[in-house]
C-alpha cells in the first residue's frame, strides 16, 4: 500500500481538501456556503416546532394557541407553577440517576457481549446471534406483565431498580449495533495483539474498545435519551411521587391540571419544556466528545 504523507492537517481537513471544499479560494467557499445555507434551512424546519413549544409555554392560557410567536405578556409564572406544583428537582435527580446507570450499564455490557459475537468464531455463533435479534422483534407490551411479576418476586416494585437494572444484561439493539462496528475492524490488529500476548479481555479492552469509541458514545447517548423519555416503566413500577422520573411526573401534572376536560395547556407545555431542557443541555455539552477523536483506522502503511 502506498505511503501517504500527512501534511499535519486533521482528517476532516484532508477530506475537505479532496472534495475541494477547503482553502479560501472562491471555488472552495461556494460549495461550503451552499451546504451551510442548506443546513440552516433544514434547521429552521427542525427548530420551528420547538420554538413554538417554548413560545406557547410562556403564554397565558387564553393565548396559548394564538398565532403570535412572541408571547405578550410573558407568563413566567407557568414555570413557577410547575416548579411549585411538583417535586421537580427530585424528578430531575431520579431521571439523571436512572439515565446514567441505564446508559452506563448497557454500554459496557453490550460492548462485552458484542465482542463475544464478533471476534470469536464458534459453532452456533450465528444461530445464537439470531436469537438475540429475535428478542428485539416481540412487542414489549405482552411481556410487560410477566416481567413485572418477576420484579415483584424480587421485591423491587416501587423502587428505581427495574428502570435500569435490566440493562446489566445488554440490549439486543446495541449488541447488534456494536457488533457491526466490531466486524468492521481488521483482523490483523487483533492478531498482532495476540502475538504480543494479550488475553481475550485485553483484546477487548485495548484493541476493540478504543477503536469503536464513537460507537460507544453513541450507544451511551441513545440509551440515556431512551431512559430519559421512557414513560411505561415508571408508570407501572413507581407509586411514590418522589420516586418519579420526569416523564412520569409530566403525566401526573397533565392529569392533575386536566381533569374535567379543562386542560391547562400552558402548564403542560411548560412542564414539557422543563422535561426536555436538561436533555438538550447534556447533549449539547456531550456532543463535542462525540465525533472528536476521529477513528484512525490504524492502517499501517
Amino acid at each position: 500500500m502506498a505511503v501517504i504523507e500527512h501534511s499535519g492537517r486533521s482528517p476532516q481537513e484532508r477530506l475537505a481538501d479532496m472534495i475541494g471544499a477547503s482553502g479560501s479560494g472562491i471555488r472552495q467557499i461556494i460549495p461550503r456556503l451552499l451546504f451551510i445555507v442548506l443546513l440552516i434551512g433544514c434547521s429552521l424546519m427542525f427548530l420551528a416546532p420547538f420554538a413554538w413549544l417554548v413560545s406557547a409555554s410562556l403564554k397565558v392560557r387564553s393565548e396559548v394557541f394564538g398565532p403570535e410567536w412572541i408571547p405578550d405578556p410573558i407568563a413566567w409564572e407557568n414555570y413557577v407553577k410547575v416548579w411549585e406544583a411538583a417535586p421537580v428537582l427530585s424528578w430531575l435527580r431520579n431521571s439523571l440517576l436512572v439515565g446514567v446507570l441505564a446508559a452506563l450499564s448497557v454500554t459496557i455490557s453490550s460492548a462485552l457481549i458484542a465482542f463475544g459475537f464478533s471476534y470469536f468464531r464458534f459453532k452456533g455463533r450465528d444461530a445464537l446471534f439470531n436469537l438475540v435479534l429475535a428478542t428485539m422483534m416481540l412487542p414489549g407490551v405482552v411481556t410487560m406483565i410477566p416481567v413485572f411479576l418477576i420484579w415483584d418476586q424480587l421485591g423491587l416494585v416501587n423502587t428505581l431498580w427495574p428502570l435500569w437494572a435490566g440493562n446489566l444484561f445488554g440490549s439486543a439493539f446495541y449488541i447488534f449495533m456494536i457488533r457491526q462496528f466490531y466486524l468492521g475492524l481488521p483482523r490483523e490488529l487483533f492478531e498482532a495483539a495476540r502475538v504480543d500476548g494479550a488475553s481475550y479481555f485485553g483484546l477487548w479492552r485495548h484493541v476493540a474498545l478504543p477503536l469503536t469509541r464513537n460507537a460507544l458514545i453513541v450507544v451511551f447517548v441513545f440509551e440515556f435519551k431512551a431512559s430519559w423519555t421512557d414513560l411505561v416503566k415508571p408508570l407501572i413500577y413507581l407509586y411514590n411521587s418522589d420516586l418519579f422520573t420526569l416523564p412520569r411526573g409530566l403525566k401526573a401534572l397533565l392529569d392533575q391540571f386536566g381533569q374535567g376536560g379543562e386542560l391547562q395547556w400552558e402548564i403542560i407545555l411548560a412542564a414539557s419544556v422543563i422535561v426536555t431542557l436538561p436533555m438538550i443541555v447534556i447533549f449539547f455539552l456531550g456532543q463535542r466528545y462525540f465525533m472528536e477523536g476521529i477513528a484512525t483506522s490504524g492502517l499501517k502503511g
Partner: protein
C-alpha cells in the same frame, strides 16, 4: 479469563444481592387496624387539581387522623392499574370513571359495597339515581359516585342576531328546525366554511341524539346493545347530515380544529360557531377567558320537549385485593358526603369572590349538597347569562341519564364511534355502519358477560 472480568462479574453479583436486601421496605404495609379506622390507605387514579379536591381531602384527614393517606397522583392508567392488580399490589381504593367501573366490576376486580354501605351507614339516596345506576350491576352496588357532568346548549347570540333570530327561536325538540337553523347560521366565504351553524358533536354525543329520539344505545340490563334500532339510525342520519352545510365532514372538522377552544379567542368570540351542545364545565371556561362573549344558554331537549342530558362522572371503588377496606369505605363516604361538598363549595366561592370571577357551582352527584350549593351558596352573580347557564345546568341534572352499566365499555364505545366515523367519511350508510357495530358489540357483550357466571 482474566482476573479483571471475574472481578466485574463479582461486582455485578454483589450489586444484585444488595438490591434484594435493601429494597424491600417501602412496599410493606405496616399498619394494623386498631379500634376505629386507621392504617395506610393507598389511593390510585385521583389527583388534586383544585380546591374542590383539596378541601375534601383535608377534611378527611381531620376526621381520620390515624389514617395515612398515600395518593399516587395522576388519572387512572389502565396499564398501571392492571399490572398492580396482576401482582397483588392493588391499591386500597381506586377512582375511575363510572363507565369504566362496570367493566372492572363484572370481571370481579372490585368489591361489592353492601357491607361497606351498611357498616359506615352510607345513605345511598343522597346520590343521584342516574349515577348510582351506572355503578350497579345485577342489583349490587360497586361504587360511590362523585361528579355529575351534564350537557346544555350554548348559542352564539351575535350570530343569531345576524340571522334575525333570538335564543327563544331555537327549538331543540324540532329536528327540522335545527336543520334550518344550521343552514341559516353556516357561513361560507371563498368556498371555505368560516362559521359552523350547528355542531352536533359527533361521534361523542351519539347517545345524546339517540336518547333525544327516544332510545338508549344499550338495553337497561346492560346485556343487549341496541345500535341498529331504527331510531338510532335515524338520529345518526340526522346528525351526520348537519355536516353537509359546511361542505362535508372534512372541511367541518378541519375548521373545528382551528378553534381556540380554551382561549380568549374562542369560537364564540371569533364568531366561528352558531350553536352546540356541550358539557357544563365549559361554562366555567367561558366565564374565565371571555366573560363578555355573546352567548346564551338553553337546555338540551328530546323530541318531546323534555330536557335530557347525557351524564358522565367518576366513582370510588374498592379493589378486591385492598388491604384496608374499612378505611377505603370511610374515605369514599367522607369524600362524597354533603358536608364535604358544601365545604368545598364555600371555599370555591371564597376564592372566586377574591379573584373576581364567577362561581358556576359544583356538580357533585349528591342531591343534598346540590340543595345547599345551588340554593344558598351560589348567588346571582350580576352576569345574567351565566346565572341562566347555572339554572339550565341544574335543571338538566334531573333529566340526566348515563350509559347503563355494562362489561364491555371500551369495546362498545369503539364499535359505535367507528360506525359514526365511517358514516361521516362517507364509507357506509348509517344503517350499514350501525348494523356492523351492532354485531361487533353483541359479540363483545356476550364474551364479557361470561365472566359474570
Amino acid at each position: 479469563m482474566s482476573k479483571r472480568s471475574w472481578y466485574y462479574f463479582a461486582v455485578m453479583l454483589a450489586m444484585a444481592a444488595v438490591m434484594v436486601f435493601a429494597a424491600g421496605a417501602p412496599a410493606l404495609q405496616l399498619a394494623e387496624a386498631q379500634d376505629g379506622i386507621s392504617g395506610e390507605l393507598s389511593v390510585m387514579g385521583f389527583s388534586l387539581p383544585d380546591e374542590v379536591a383539596t378541601v375534601r381531602v383535608d377534611r378527611f384527614r381531620e376526621l381520620y387522623p390515624d389514617v395515612e393517606l398515600n395518593i399516587t397522583e395522576g388519572g387512572l392508567d389502565q396499564q398501571q392499574f392492571l399490572t398492580a392488580v396482576a401482582s397483588g399490589n392493588a391499591p386500597d381504593i381506586v377512582y375511575m370513571s363510572r363507565e369504566l367501573l362496570s367493566t372492572y366490576a363484572v370481571r370481579g376486580a372490585l368489591m361489592p359495597l353492601e357491607d361497606c354501605i351498611e357498616s359506615q351507614g352510607i345513605d345511598m339516596s343522597q346520590y343521584r339515581q342516574a349515577a348510582v345506576d351506572q355503578v350497579t350491576i345485577d342489583g349490587q352496588i360497586y361504587g360511590i359516585p362523585e361528579f355529575f357532568n351534564v350537557i346544555l346548549v350554548i348559542a352564539n347570540t351575535a350570530a343569531l342576531e345576524e340571522a334575525g333570530l333570538t335564543v327563544d327561536d331555537i327549538d331543540i325538540s324540532d329536528w327540522e328546525s335545527i336543520a334550518e337553523l344550521n343552514e341559516a347560521l353556516t357561513r361560507i366565504e371563498d368556498g371555505q366554511v368560516t362559521r359552523i351553524g350547528f355542531d352536533p358533536k359527533l361521534p361523542e354525543f351519539l347517545p345524546l341524539w339517540a336518547a333525544a329520539n327516544g332510545v338508549q344505545l344499550i338495553s337497561e340490563d346492560g346485556r343487549t346493545p341496541n345500535l341498529n334500532d331504527p331510531k338510532v339510525v335515524e338520529a345518526l342520519e340526522f346528525a351526520a347530515a348537519l355536516h353537509e352545510a359546511a361542505g362535508g365532514r372534512q372541511d367541518f372538522m378541519a375548521f373545528r380544529d382551528t378553534w381556540d377552544f380554551f382561549g380568549s379567542n374562542n369560537q364564540f368570540v371569533q364568531d366561528q360557531l352558531g350553536v352546540f351542545p356541550m358539557e357544563q364545565w365549559y361554562v366555567n371556561v367561558l366565564s374565565d377567558v371571555s366573560p363578555d362573549a355573546p352567548v346564551d344558554f338553553l337546555p338540551f331537549t328530546d323530541r318531546e320537549g323534555n330536557p335530557i342530558s347525557y351524564v358522565t362522572g367518576n366513582a370510588w371503588a374498592i379493589p378486591v385485593g385492598s388491604s384496608n377496606p374499612e378505611a377505603a369505605c370511610a374515605f369514599a363516604k367522607t369524600m362524597t358526603e354533603a358536608d364535604a361538598w358544601i365545604a368545598a363549595a364555600e371555599e370555591r366561592a371564597r376564592l372566586r369572590a377574591e379573584a373576581g370571577t364567577t362561581n358556576t357551582g359544583i356538580y357533585s352527584a349528591n342531591v343534598l349538597a346540590d340543595e345547599v350549593i345551588f340554593g344558598e351558596i351560589i348567588q346571582p352573580s350580576g352576569n345574567e347569562k351565566l346565572d341562566k347557564a347555572i339554572e339550565v345546568a341544574v335543571a338538566a341534572m334531573d333529566g340526566g341519564f348515563g350509559i347503563p352499566a355494562n362489561p364491555a365499555g371500551s369495546e362498545f364505545r369503539q364499535a359505535w364511534q367507528d360506525a359514526v366515523n365511517r358514516v361521516l367519511n362517507g364509507e357506509q350508510t348509517a344503517q350499514e355502519a350501525l348494523d356492523q357495530a351492532q354485531a361487533e358489540a353483541q359479540a363483545a357483550f356476550d364474551e364479557a358477560w361470561m365472566f359474570q357466571e
